[in-house]
Subunit: 461 residues, 3 copies
């Protein structure tokens, strides 16, 4: 066995015992996954199977790919479809690179809990483990739908472009299968007007909405129409990723004149920035009206490595975080809607320096603001610990929203929730042994961190 029962917990015996007791309460609870990037097509066809271990575990996981690339292994080798066993061998030989990383922890968890792999992955064991997984994947027990149930996923939210027709969601919904898979409205590719391919996206928006998008007003109407369609298929939230959290209302005329320039392909960098800032406000306004929870994800320099982007596309590990500023940037938005009873704004960041300084004070005061969990690189063991450390005292736990796995790698969902649940139990055990809370409080809090807060914040109950 690779996975020790007491893994990750702090070593002090009193704290570890308390942590294990708390963890036992939540270890087996269903998984609420309110934000992620799993492909819904996995679940629309009951006969769908995963291919081989390489296509399942390595090639879709840019956390894994970028680490190998950082050590000089080429994307050409890694993404080859010709010899999956060879790619797997290369991965296994270099699996030592993941020592002490969350990807290493998750991968080991997936191998053992899903495929019962009980030996260490390395060059020697690579081929045996490949065989073991490949054989398992042939069985119906390892179909995406079966795994969804086996892994006890209660609800899984995908992330879908505003222009997505949501065919797979419709199919799943109208099938007799009971898995709850819901879309999330993601307007990035139409709301950030300097997105490559923006005009095509607008054309697609016209088509899918049956609204001829020719100006700012019709653009807004089309977005409202799409949000309504997403809602009808179970969506409870949106997910917007502008370059910065800056919010700024533009007068209708101004907004439209920028939109017109964008339609003509004459967008300046300043236009794009201001329009995104305006869309932050518009998305909030729509949320107050239709009740969809608003997630805001700023602060990333996308596709930092043009050579990798042009050869291998997006999501190859080269989205690099940048500094963010929330206090000034969000003020115009919160001036408009911060006290609105129907508005719920979930803030995410990659800039931990904003946790204690800006985000916790905002969440600890505005009724509409809650803090999303540590995200992306930061849902690691220490990343989660730093979040509890820097956020909770000021924001208060009840102004946070539990966990997101935010993953493209379906099998990593339970692994990631397990790390979160252990980290939550460990944090609460720390408060318990320091007498800051009592056992009854700790038990209630660990349940909320595992399931309750996410259900409530995402209006999934």
């Amino acid at each position: 066995m690779m996975l020790a029962a007491d893994r990750l917990f702090d070593p002090d015996p009193a704290q570890k015992t308390a942590a294990m007791d708390l963890y036992a309460l939540v270890q087996g609870l269903p998984i609420i996954s309110p934000h992620g990037h799993v492909d819904p097509s996995l679940f629309s066809d009951p006969e769908r199977r995963f291919e081989n271990p390489t296509e399942l575990l390595i090639q879709p996981d840019h956390y894994v790919l970028r680490m190998l690339y950082s050590q000089g292994i080429s994307y050409e080798q890694l993404l080859s479809k010709e010899n999956p066993r060879q790619v797997w061998q290369l991965f296994a030989e270099n699996f030592y690179l993941f020592r002490g990383t969350p990807s290493g922890t998750w991968m080991t968890h997936e191998l053992e809990t899903v495929f019962e792999v009980n030996e260490k992955l390395n060059g020697d064991s690579a081929s045996r483990i490949f065989d073991q997984i490949e054989i398992a994947l042939l069985s119906p027990a390892f179909s995406p739908r079966s795994l969804f149930e086996k892994l006890k996923i209660e609800v899984l939210a995908t992330t879908d472009a505003a222009t997505d027709q949501l065919k797979h969601h419709e199919t799943i919904r109208s099938s007799d299968w009971g898995g709850r898979i819901i879309p999330t409205f993601r307007p990035n590719a139409v709301a950030n007007i300097n997105t490559p391919g923006w005009s095509k996206n607008i054309q697609a928006l016209s088509e899918v909405s049956n609204i001829d998008v020719t100006n700012h007003a019709s653009f807004i109407r089309a977005l409202e129409q799409r949000r309504s369609h997403f809602k009808s298929l179970g969506a409870t939230a949106t997910d917007f990723s502008p370059p910065s959290p800056r919010a700024e209302w533009l007068p209708g005329k101004k907004a439209n004149s920028i939109f017109q320039r964008a339609l003509k392909g004459e967008v300046s960098s300043r236009d794009a920035t201001r329009f995104s800032a305006h869309m932050v406000c518009e998305m909030a306004r729509m949320s107050t009206e239709d009740g969809l929870v608003m997630q805001l994800h700023p602060g990333v320099f996308r596709n930092h490595n043009p050579e990798v982007f042009s050869s291998y596309g997006a999501d190859r590990g080269f989205d690099i975080p940048i500094q963010s500023e929330f206090t000034y940037n969000l003020q115009p938005l919160l001036e408009s809607f911060g006290n609105h009873p129907n508005f719920s704004l979930l803030l995410f960041t990659m800039d931990e320096s904003t946790y204690a300084r800006e985000l916790a004070p905002l969440a600890g005061a505005y009724p509409s603001v809650k803090l999303g969990p540590p995200w992306w690189f930061n849902d690691s063991w220490n990343g989660i610990r730093r979040y509890f450390d820097q956020v909770m005292e000021t924001a208060g736990m009840y102004n946070t929203v539990g966990f997101n796995d935010d993953t493209r790698a379906f099998l990593s969902i339970p692994a990631r929730h397990d790390v979160w649940r252990r980290a939550a139990a460990n944090w609460l055990a720390g408060l318990l042994v320091r007498r800051v809370i009592d056992r009854q409080e700790a038990e209630s809090m660990v349940m909320d961190l595992a399931v309750g807060l996410a259900k409530k914040a995402y209006r999934l109950a």
Copy 2:
């Protein structure tokens, strides 16, 4: 009993034992409170009594109010004077929101140590506890003056506007009561020229100083006159909160022309910024002359929520921190006075990213610079731990100034100092069990952190 003797200390038995030994040395020492916002009128009338639990413990404490507001409870309900018992009940039912927060820790400490409340505050116990406190408050033993003595406060500094006549301080000083309560000179409302009501403040400054403030020169003279008056009533320090730590000397003409525009109500945002930067230098210059210690508190966006501000005023939990930069901003000030033997500059921040990067290196080099304690949101258990972690190795403990409670809530003073003393003992115990210091050193250091450093830095000995 709610308060365990070993609360807050790290769980490792060796460290905890060492921490408890060190804490025992300082637990009962008198309290030095060199920076806070308690109302001096509490102490000028010997017959003064606190009202009910709600007016004492909830309504003046914006830490408590903003957390309740963040969960959708309205300020209208919370600030109502009509039915204090009802507000208390509402607070008690929602006291679970404070789990793991410093406000929760402080409140429990106040209830038990001051009022001997030994049961948990919640909806069931609310009314009983209300009665218990209300009865106590009728007794002379719970008058502000009696509590001041019972809580062993050796000196309490208030914070007072430059235009304050300090009548209560005069009354206290000329009474036969021995409590040492001293003012602190706070020029914010006259030195930040874009303060709402600035002209009125300047008029008040003219009146109180008997100097006709019509230009920059008379403004400076009036401030000097006020500082001198504050000193005569025991003040040893000033407290200036400009928007940023930027320091810039303006030539006299330039400073005066901005001042003249301000008098005419024609202040630009740039004027205000430059004038505040100039006043940072002027305040320092005055300190080198009159020996008042200069406290600098930059980096806050005040009254971030205009709706709450217009209905319920300032100090409602919506002052939100912002990023600060000290290295460049303070250089002109330190070029002028950084090596001056009579100058003492205490720096505070809400931006922890500056602790190790800027503040500790500055304090560890300039003889005039010392670091104020973790402040505001950051005087929590973990906030203090992060301060010790990130500041002490580079600045050296002797370039820090002990603790400030910085509170408006009188009864929270001992609770806050208790957390600081425990945190200091715990930090030193950590150094002791790691053999970085020996016991004799730890004992000397814990005494200095509890009392000695504050006395020395604020020239209170």
Copy 3:
């Protein structure tokens, strides 16, 4: 004995035992010192001796000096050559200021391990300890060369101006002494065109390179020539410290016109910034051609205290860190060379907020980027712990480069490496008791952190 065998390790018994086991594997390994500021002249003459304790341990160490200065002790007193014993006495009486600081830890380590001083340094013991060291220094066993061997330094890289003739390196290399001391190419004084004395430096560059530096092209040729000379004397790396990590290619004409203005002494602040940014790119380009590893050290405000600078010169504790931004600033550089197989870029920072946000993601993706160790103020016990905490999960340990001591104080080299090795063992022990890695992994990792990563990254094997 002042130094306990288990010093610095975390107190939990399980973790401490594991840490001591891991530390035992690396405690006695040779020291790789690939980046520092020791004077090579110490080693070129076999008869060279250190003077007295004050000139050896206090006066060259600006970490020590600035702490004493920060408490009001003047540089005039501290730097006096007249009575070394008096300076030592003053230092000893104030040695309590270093409690809990890395300088305190290092000094105690040096006194005990090199000079067998077994009593605490203070006013009483000062004179005895002075005698003890002074006598030792007379012995050949305490010559720089002997100490180099005794301290088990396998390789020591110095840092040398681009214009340095490297006479001492030549002498050492052509001697029969086997100590490996290599230069590092540091172009700061010629590449940052607003450096005081720049024209003289350019003249010196012309002379030493035999290339008449009259324009940008000849400047570049001269740098290339110097790099080649450094390489011939064993250099494997360069070390550039621009004000910010900004990289920007200037067209040749533009670069030359700035260079011409610089030659005429007409440099604007904008010119200097852009030229430094251009030199970041040029230095990288040269590295891809000659294989020298590129170190980048941005983010410091040099000589912050003009009064101290004008009286006592540079390196007096007044280089104060500033915020840095790497994601945007480095993109043009990484677009050019980030995927180049021959390029190796080691990034250093004083701005810890960039560790998890920018540096670890960059190092965890680009094959050319590695992270330098915590540097300068941050190679303290807690600074190293924060580095492991914030960097390793995202970057992966194999994208870091082990330790640099970066010191001017020769005797502090083993003390600093000892702290690093203990911190590494303690970090790995933490992962081990949390079951994140197993013992075999921990043993391999601790060896790499102590020696292997530095050798590989600096191409010293």
